[in-house]
């Protein structure tokens, strides 16, 4: 049986507007236990900010997290998956695009996220149950 993205994806990450400050995204990442905040415009995915983006593009550059906007640091060239894509496709995208997390969208609307951790850990757990 082929495993689908919907079988291993995590819940849709927190969504924020591009005008929200980086500090708000950092607090959301802490409170929600996530490393990804999606940037949405009118409900549709337009960008993505990771915890690493904040470390590298804000802290390392000496920018102020309270005044820097998410829109100034987010990635907009996104690889995305659909919930019915094969997990193989997810693994391929993670490697080809050298990204750690891929948003899952259904008709442009974010419905989940797949991380490289999901891919490796789910595989290990599955193996243990067999």
């Amino acid at each position: 049986m082929t495993t689908k993205v919907r079988d291993i994806m995590g819940p849709a990450p927190v969504s924020m507007a591009a005008t929200a400050p980086v500090s708000a995204a950092a607090r959301a990442m802490k409170e929600r236990g996530t490393g990804t905040v999606l940037i949405v415009a009118r409900g549709r995915l337009s960008g993505l900010v990771t915890d690493r983006d904040i470390a590298i593009r804000v802290l390392a550059d000496g920018r102020d997290p309270a005044t820097t906007k998410l829109g100034d640091i987010c990635s907009t060239e996104l690889a995305v998956l659909g919930p019915d894509d094969d997990v193989d496709q997810a693994a391929r995208l993670v490697r080809e695009r050298a990204v750690r997390r891929i948003p899952v969208v259904d008709g442009g609307v974010p419905v989940g996220v797949v991380s490289i951790g999901d891919l490796a850990l789910k595989a290990a757990w599955q193996q243990e149950r067999i």
């Binding site: 082929t2 495993t3 980086v22 500090s23 950092a26 607090r27 990442m29 802490k30 409170e31 490393g35 915890d51 690493r52 904040i54 470390a55 590298i56 804000v58 802290l59 390392a60 000496g62 997290p65 094969d86 997990v87 193989d88 693994a91 490697r95 750690r100 490289i116 951790g117 891919l119 490796a120 850990l121 789910k122 595989a123 290990a124 757990w125 599955q126 193996q127 067999i130």
Partner: protein, 135 residues
């Protein structure tokens, strides 16, 4: 043949001093292209700090970039031997719910291995990843 930890680890771990600033630690991660650095205090291994730690333990807590990075560290690290199979590293990560392990060789820290290093497609013969490579 199963991949060994030494084959997948990032060798030559990068260290920062406990008293270096949070901003300096972020620049070290950026300049070396790594997501975690070891934290050294009085020439001894003190802990490990990740890019995420800088965000959830500093930015989210309104700690400024000039504060020392040391207090953000994770302590009580779990190590893995460089000659162990990569699947041993995966098991240790699962048991201890951590994503990174210092790699020990001849009593020294020789590298770091992270969950992301355990690429499921790069170790197709590894039983820990059989579920995913069968697709």
């Amino acid at each position: 043949m199963n991949a060994k930890v030494r084959d997948v680890m990032t060798p030559g771990p990068i260290g920062v001093d406990y008293h270096q600033s949070i901003g300096a630690a972020a620049r070290t991660m950026r300049d070396w292209g790594v997501g975690a650095v070891l934290v050294v205090s009085d020439q001894a291994l003190y802990g490990l700090v990740t890019d995420r730690d800088l965000v959830v333990r500093a930015v989210a807590e309104s700690r400024g970039p000039d504060e020392p990075v040391g207090p953000l560290s994770s302590r009580d690290l779990v190590g893995v031997d460089a000659d162990d199979d990569a699947c041993v590293a995966a098991q240790l990560m699962r048991e201890h719910a951590v994503r990174r392990l210092p790699v020990i060789e001849d009593g020294q820290v020789a590298g770091l291995v992270s969950l992301a290093d355990l690429d499921p497609l790069a170790v197709p013969d590894d039983p820990a990843f059989a579920g995913i490579t069968r697709g």
